[in-house]
């Protein structure tokens, strides 16, 4: 589609990294917000109702920053802020040609910060939410690492631009890993049936789980981080297509996202045991088979 030679020339230049990072910082919240807004709208329609305006996520965030700054302990803000910062950093790195594994570790670090924030409040509900988020983190982590390795084995590069400019779309060789990623995406997006640690609406056994004690601007930071993370995750999925099939990539990712919304609406929340076992089983079976096969294809 796109002339790979010019593309790789562009992508290896340092300036592209700066542009990538800047674009991410500036555009990700907008894109993420609109996607989230559409998500809520479509969800509402699936439930037979009108739903909020598409810009609702932005109103919500604006509102949160207008509220009183209320905390259980001032430390919680620090952890949450660190979470936001590292989500942004991992996104920047992803969009600025960094080593994929380091990007993943940065993302893990970000989540550890969020979890620590919940712990720091010393509240029973936040605590249980934190433990559950930790389980969720443990559930998805292997798949992400395996996916990164798979991408490397196909494209010979751990660097994101190196992966993107690869001449064949990685998904052709690692379809199982893509499916696995889609599976764990449900956990990452906190969608039913895997919304064990917290979810956007209430009515769950943990009140608001992880975010129970966060309010006002603290919660606002989390919401913003979610927007960044959403774009990050979709960007990660895009690596499976790269510049070899960008349009197909976008279409498939849009379809995947719609599928996530649909699943969210067509399942009850699973128990954490199921989430954990399910994710690991998927990783083990799909991940191992695909990697194993790759060794012979390569």
């Amino acid at each position: 589609m796109i002339d790979t030679a010019t593309a790789s020339a562009f992508f290896t230049s340092g300036i592209s990294q700066v542009i990538g990072a800047l674009l991410f910082i500036l555009l990700a919240p907008l894109v993420g917000g609109i996607i989230t807004g559409l998500d809520r709208k479509i969800t509402a329609r699936m439930q037979g109702r009108v739903g909020p305006p598409v810009l609702q996520p932005f109103y919500d965030i604006k509102k949160l920053f207008e509220k009183e700054k209320m905390v259980v302990t001032t430390a919680e803000n620090f952890w949450v802020f660190a979470y936001l910062v590292f989500i942004v950093i991992s996104g920047m790195l992803l969009f600025a040609n960094s080593d994929l594994l380091l990007v993943i570790f940065a993302l893990t670090l970000a989540h550890v910060f969020l979890i620590l924030g919940a712990y720091s409040t010393g509240s029973p509900y936040a605590h249980v939410g934190a433990e559950r988020e930790l389980i969720a983190l443990m559930s998805v982590e292997p798949m992400i690492i395996v996916a990164a390795v798979g991408l490397y084995m196909v494209t010979g590069s751990f660097e994101t631009y190196g992966i993107i400019v690869s001449s064949t779309a990685p998904i052709l060789l690692i379809p199982c890993l893509f499916i696995g990623m889609v599976y764990i995406l449900t956990v990452k997006l906190g969608k039913s049936p895997f919304d064990i640690a917290t979810s956007h609406h209430a009515h769950q056994e943990l009140v608001k789980g992880l975010t129970t004690e966060f309010s006002g601007s603290t919660l606002g930071m989390i919401e913003i981080a979610h927007l960044y993370e959403l774009v990050f995750l979709l960007g990660f999925l895009f690596l499976f297509f790269g510049l070899a099939a960008p349009l197909i990539g976008i279409v498939v990712i849009a379809a995947v996202y719609l599928l996530e919304i649909f699943i969210d609406n067509a399942a009850s929340r699973a128990k954490w045991q199921f989430v954990f076992k399910g994710c690991w089983a998927i990783t083990l079976v799909l991940g191992f088979l695909n990697l194993f096969a790759l060794y012979f294809v390569r």
Binding site: G48, P124, Y125, H201, E205, S268, K271, Q273
Partner: protein, 359 residues
């Protein structure tokens, strides 16, 4: 190694539609102890009989609870009518039956929604409540109230439903039948729903008997306990069998209620087809003197209005034993050893209505 986690569950908790508190003691997420405490909605309304005329008290009785409001008024009126030996006209009896079953429809749809929500199945909740609105419309159109109807009175009912309207109502029920079926299909078959409810909150038949379970809780544990079989209102002349499931878990309780939806629709149709013409109330003269335990089958099970009167216009004692209070002991049993995630599901599975449990 696992340490204890003690969580105060309720009174304010998003999964609880009503305030109840559990001292929840967990190990990892397994519940090792869950002792309820109630009293957050206790009003003491039984005492109001001393202040209100026995005929006006029916307005209070209706407000014991806003969900089976209608059946409460039937239970209360029935007690007074039994004491005073009033002959309530047949048409009124049929109307009471129809509205009672509408109440059951609305209550069960409401419950199915809340239950789905306890499992985190938001869409199911929304759709259950969407369908429920059509039931409420019928209620509002015929009685004037969506959830508190105010049509039952001592000696009969206040409003009549024209035969044309009855036809229209049954037609409407037919038209939403498909949607209800789709909804039940999800509760019956969906893998994620089963994951959350099969084998959860076990209550054996013996325990159900010993712990005095009533309503769908008893029926889900294999006990055919349905007070409509005593034949009050017009139930004596209608054809139905209590629905019983033997799974003894939350799933069974859910199935019982889902199947009762179809049963209620059927009962309404039967009643609408057979309703005789005539008066809808008798004149009430004098004051009651005597005592009676009036039993009715509410959506949540057996409810008792015990009335004792001594011939004055204020009765002496009104005691209401509501289904939810009878189902609390079984609840304690069901919660033993479950997972934290099951707590809302189990609590919801008895369809707790604290409003009436505490009055």
């Amino acid at each position: 190694m696992a340490g204890r986690i003690v969580v105060p569950f309720g009174p304010q908790h998003p999964v609880l539609p009503e305030p109840i508190h559990l001292d929840l003691v967990l190990e990892d997420e397994r519940v090792v102890e869950a002792i309820p405490s109630i009293g957050y909605v206790h009003r003491g309304l039984e005492k109001l009989v001393e202040k209100r005329d026995f005929k006006d008290f029916v307005y209070i009785a209706e407000r014991i609870c806003g969900i089976c409001s209608f059946t409460h008024s039937v239970g209360y009126c029935k007690a007074i009518e039994a004491i005073m030996d009033l002959q309530v006209p047949e048409r009124a009896q049929y109307l009471r039956t129809i509205w009672s079953e509408y109440s059951r429809l609305h209550s069960h749809l409401l419950w199915l929604g809340l239950y789905a929500d306890a499992m985190g199945f938001e869409n199911l909740f929304m759709n259950a409540w969407r369908i429920r609105e059509t039931i409420l419309d019928a209620m509002e159109e015929t009685t004037g109230g969506r959830v508190i109807q105010g049509v039952c009175k001592v000696g009969g009912v206040r409003r009549d439903i024209s035969d044309a309207k009855l036809k229209e109502m049954t037609a409407k029920l037919d038209s939403i039948g498909g949607e209800i079926e789709d909804l039940c299909h999800v509760f019956f078959d969906d893998a994620s729903v089963k994951h959350r409810s099969v084998g959860v909150g076990m209550l054996s038949k013996e325990d159900a008997h010993k712990l005095g379970a009533v309503g769908p809780v008893a029926k889900g544990s294999g006990i055919a306990l349905d007070l409509r079989q005593t034949g009050y209102s017009a139930y004596g002349s209608l054809d139905f069998k209590p629905i019983v499931e033997t799974g003894c878990d939350c799933y069974s309780r859910c199935i019982v209620r889902a199947k009762e939806l179809a049963q209620s629709v059927d009962l309404i149709k039967q009643a609408a087809a057979n309703i005789p013409a005539g008066d809808i109330e008798v004149k009430v003269k004098g004051n009651p003197d005597g005592e009676y335990f009036s039993r009715v089958e509410q959506p949540r099970g057996e409810c008792i209005h015990y009335v004792k009167a001594n011939g004055s216009k204020n009765i002496l004692r009104e005691r209401v034993r509501t289904p939810s209070s009878a189902n609390i002991p079984p609840l304690v049993k069901m919660l033993e050893g479950c997972q934290m995630a099951d707590v809302p599901v189990i609590v919801l599975s008895i369809d707790p209505c604290i409003g009436c449990a505490e009055r």
